[in-house]
Amino acid sequence: MYGETLLDIAMMHSDSVIDRAQNGDKEAFNQLVSLWYKRIYNYAYKYFSEHNLASEATQKTFILVYRKIDSLKNPDSFKGWIYRIATNCCHEEERLRKVNSNSEPIDLELSAKDRRDDQVGVEDKIVNEELSEVLIECLGQINPEQRQVIIMKEYEGFKFREIAEVLDISENTAKSRLYYGLAALRKILEEKNITIESWCNE
């Protein structure tokens, strides 16, 4: 989806850094955080459509990575491993949000606000910066399982096999979730009158 940046290349060749981190090198671990923090945050942000929850889940992910990195047998499988931890943290964070009624429902409020704005007219809202937020919100409205597969495939560059490994499902299930997730998203975008043409006219 995105062109490969230097950061992406560095992430893909971080075996030695992982080795050093496994041997207790704190500096190497900080390097790992620098390499992966933005990726994991964006993954969580697209999942929650909300900054605070995404930050919380991302930080918990790295704390778990720090505690468990010596259990990682093969540095080549680091990407799948860290996303599995991030996915679990996202699920856990979502569960806590639902259970804890005192937690601030910022994302829900945002969604409600956006919905009110939708009634005023989406067309007026579509400007470059806001459109991304609308899209994130649309993603937030589809089934979490389908959303997760869409994010992993579209934004994180996973193969179907890798998605299946991380989410512990079959490849065909991953493909089905993606297919129906995209179909659901199409419906939501249609309701909001968002098309690629309107976007390109910006």
């Binding site: 981190a21 041997n23 933005k38 579209e154 493909k175 690629i196 976007w199």
Partner: protein, 280 residues
Amino acid sequence: MNKKINEHKLTAYLYGELSGQELEEVKNHLDKNPEEKKRVEELNQVRRILGKLEEKEVIEPVFIWPEENLPRPENDNFYHSNWFKIACSITLFIVIFFISGYFLSASLKINNGSFVLGFNSEDQSKIVAPVQEFTAEDIESIIDKKLSSISENNTQQFQELSDQIQLISNKKVLDSGKIISMLDQESNQLNNNLQAYANQIQEENINALRDLVVLSSKQQQAQFETTLVEFSKYLEQKRNDDLNFILLNLKDLKQHSDNYKSKTNEILASLIEKVNDGNN
């Protein structure tokens, strides 16, 4: 949906992950089913819209990693494990026990079912010796003997030392006289050399100063002459300029007076004319 062409294959097609026969099958299927083809195209549009979503920039927080959770390699963990520490402590205790036992001649005996641990047991018999009793006179005579022998030794050593000191002092007196005479000779030589060098430098300085004074007086004279010539030129120029200025002012004054004169005449003429008109 065709049983053969299900959503799995359509998804793989959508992401360009089909090839060969499977790809042809899906293409044929979509050609025959325009509705399904339209749906796949719509999903592709959704993908394109998703592609517009930009990455959110975020600043990573500073993590402070606790020391106790720092992972260590397995062999390192072994050296830091409690089992290793306990084993080392026991081994060290045993080693110290045997070493101290060796130096203290420890012995372990089992007699009639009792366990006996002893130290220095063999040497005890050797150390025990009959005690000899001394009287006060004996002790006094021993002390006297010892003191006399010490004083004899001291006297002999003192004599030897004083001889050596005398020898050294005689030798040093001789040597110091020689050294002083050599130093005097050297210092005289050095003084003479320094005096000669100072005279030479003084003479060179006087010559250089003389040359400099002569040269500078010549230069100053030439400079003074040049300045005088330039000053006379300046004075001449200034005088001419002043004369021109005065001349110009005189001309202006003359012109003004002429104008004044003509205006006065005109006024007088007009007055005379008015007077004449009044008379008539």
